[in-house]
């Protein structure tokens, strides 16, 4: 028997119970639409979360002294090899990089009425502007724009407020250099930034790396090489080769490559948890819909036993009958998938254009340094997950159908 006849028969059979078939198709379509959109939205959110959060300070990856992770002090830095800038500039996919050094110091205002221990980060200003979004979050003054200022410093908004400093005011830094000697210097406040994260606004100060190196006797040294690619996933593509080159020129000093998951474990875990719990719900939803399909199938098997026996009596082989039934189920699934998938992709594509603002979610996202509009992301996973699950479920159903119909007897006059 030709396949096309079986297909024709299957297709006709599908519309024997129009309402029932449409209900099943609708259930599949709605679930598919919902899940395609939800997955797109979810992964879009993660991408935004990761990129915005990592762009703030940590970058997409860093190279550090291996001990810096546990003890981030001046002892655990590295000499910046002369070849590194060349190597780094050669990387086509590397969008930005910069060296940083950091330590703790006490800042006080000049009347010395207020002081606070803060984290001082030395940055390469021009590189940092490409590397970190902090430079765009300067709300008062500017980000080291005036070259003529001698010892410029940029502070978190709350920190400046606490120290009662205005732009242009001087303040004193008191710390310890790399050799344990006292480091004292007067700085001029040139800008304050607002990162939306209170701890950072209260704790963070940035100065130029050259000033840092001079002040803390850290000539030609740094603790972090911070790197960024255009898109986060690109970073992994060249990480290995780049790191190998860097290590080679830096031999015999040890270096450690830290990817974003290592740099921001809390963010990584939050995302993993979110994925896990979401997929639990998605699986439950899919299971319900698959059970609806199985139910439709099962009703067919029961109701149409005599019909199958008739077809068998007339000369149709059991495997042809099961193929027919499997095809009916496949048509049902494909129809639902097609409608739902097109809907889901269309809605996602629309929101990719216009973005989504979710009222009430800002607070949660602010935690991770995210502000503003979210954009869904259509990926292989978001578009392929639901179809893949249904196709696998269909394959399982086909096996069951085949098994159930393998023992069918031809219709005899007696069964009527």
């Amino acid at each position: 028997m030709k396949r096309s006849n079986i297909k024709q028969l299957a297709w006709r059979n599908l519309w024997r119970h129009k309402t029932r078939s449409w209900l099943t198709v609708s259930a599949i379509a709605i679930t598919t639409l919902l899940l395609v959109f939800m997955l797109s939205f979810q992964f879009g959110t993660y991408e935004t979360m990761k990129e915005q959060n990592l762009s703030l300070l940590s970058g997409f990856a860093q190279v550090q002294n291996p001990d810096f992770k546990e003890q981030p002090n001046l002892e655990h830095g590295f000499k910046i090899p002369g070849e590194w800038p060349q190597i780094l500039n050669r990387q086509k996919m590397l969008a930005a990089y910069g060296f940083r050094a950091q330590t703790f110091a006490i800042l006080s205002n000049l009347p010395d009425t207020r002081n606070r221990a803060v984290q001082i980060i030395g940055v390469q200003v021009d590189k940092e502007k490409l590397l970190s979004s902090l430079s765009q979050k300067v709300t008062r003054g500017d980000y080291f724009a005036d070259q003529s200022v001698k010892m410029p410093i940029v502070l978190g908004k709350q920190l400046a407020d606490y120290l009662e400093l205005k732009i242009g005011d001087q303040l004193q830094l008191l710390g310890q250099d790399a050799y344990g000697s006292l480091a004292v210097e007067l700085f001029t406040l040139v800008g304050t930034f607002d990162l939306n994260i209170p701890e950072l606004n209260q704790q963070l100060a940035q100065i130029r790396l050259s000033d840092f190196q001079q002040l803390f006797a850290y000539q030609n040294q740094a603790q972090q090489l911070v790197m960024k690619s255009d898109k986060l996933p690109q970073m992994d593509l060249f990480a290995k080769t780049l790191f190998a080159q860097l290590q080679q020129t830096n031999y015999p000093e040890n270096l450690l490559w830290r990817d974003w998951k290592d740099l921001q474990p809390a963010l990584y875990q939050a995302i993993q948890m979110d994925i896990a719990s979401a997929f639990l719900w998605y699986s439950a939803l899919l299971l319900i819909v698959i059970l609806i399909v199985v139910n439709t199938l099962y009703m067919s098997l029961l109701e149409r036993h005599n019909e199958f026996a008739l077809l068998h009596a007339l000369g149709m082989q059991p495997n042809q009958i099961s193929r027919m039934l499997a095809l009916e189920t496949l048509f049902l699934i494909l129809l639902g998938l097609l409608l739902g998938w097109l809907g889901g992709v269309a809605i996602s594509a629309y929101f990719i254009q216009v973005g989504i603002n979710l009222p009430g979610m800002e607070e949660m996202y602010a935690q991770f340094g995210i502000s503003g509009t979210l954009y869904p992301q259509l990926s292989g996973l978001s578009m392929g997950f639901v179809p893949a699950v249904f196709v696998m479920a269909w394959m399982a159903m086909s096996v069951v159908i085949r098994f159930k119909l393998s023992g069918i007897r031809p219709l005899t006059g007696r069964q009527l």
Binding site: M1, L311, L314, Q317, G413, L416
Partner: protein, 232 residues
């Protein structure tokens, strides 16, 4: 007759377990059917007509004995091969017409040829011709639910003969029809038997059918107690 029978039953038995006792539905039955015969099987209810037809048609297998179709013993065929034998050599007409509800009259008939692998166009044109022959030329595109019982049974006959099987088996084909329809149907089967030389074996209680048959075989308790061809 000198040529070989299309169907031969040798010592065919079929028993069913009924609780503790055993029912011999067909009991050591011998039968030869020759090409082109028009046979009516009759006998009391429970005499084994359906059981015998089922075994001849390859729908059921005997407990012992052998059914030969064109000299081939059916017991040598696997289930799948037997299914294929049914498809290619036997036409079935059931008591309640048993059409495929989602197919039109034309598609129901063409379906058999399509199952045999015949080109769709050809299957459809041949089916149309057959339906015209059985007087349903105007109702090709009606679904079974849109046809009367007699019309449905005529579609069933068209389906049974469209692929020109060697043998047509009909189990009480007129049981659900009134006498006028029965007569027309019988007429039709006779005509097909005459014109196309198909062998018909019909089981029936219907005196009309028994009357019209060329060879009458009476069954009782699974045995043949009367056979026209032997009497003569």
């Amino acid at each position: 007759m000198h040529y070989a029978p299309v169907i031969e039953c040798q010592q065919v038995c079929k028993t069913f377990a009924d609780g503790d006792s055993v029912i011999k539905a067909v009991d050591q039955l011998d039968l030869q059917v020759f090409s082109g015969e028009f046979i009516c099987l009759y006998g009391a209810s429970g005499s084994g007509k359906t059981t015998l037809l089922n075994m001849i048609g390859g729908l059921d297998r005997p407990c012992s004995g052998e059914v030969f179709l064109d000299k081939h013993p059916l017991s040598h065929y696997s289930d799948d091969a037997l299914t294929d034998v049914r498809l290619r050599k036997i036409g079935f007409i059931f008591q309640s017409y048993n059409l495929i509800p989602v197919f039109t009259a034309l598609e129901n008939v063409a379906f058999i040829m399509q199952m045999q692998g015949v080109d769709s166009k050809m299957a459809l044109s041949k089916s149309q011709a057959i339906l015209q022959k059985v007087g349903l030329g105007e109702m090709l595109n009606r679904r079974p639910s849109e046809l009367s019982g007699g019309q449905q049974q005529r579609v069933a006959i068209a389906r049974a003969i469209v692929a020109e099987p060697k043998i047509v088996l009909a189990d009480e084909p007129t049981a659900n029809l009134d006498s006028k329809n029965s007569e027309q149907l019988l007429e039709l089967m006779h005509e097909l038997n005459r014109d196309l030389g198909m062998t018909f074996i019909i089981s029936s209680h219907d005196p009309q059918v028994i009357e019209a048959a060329e060879r009458r075989i009476e069954l009782a308790d699974g045995k043949i107690i009367h056979d026209d061809s032997i009497q003569n």
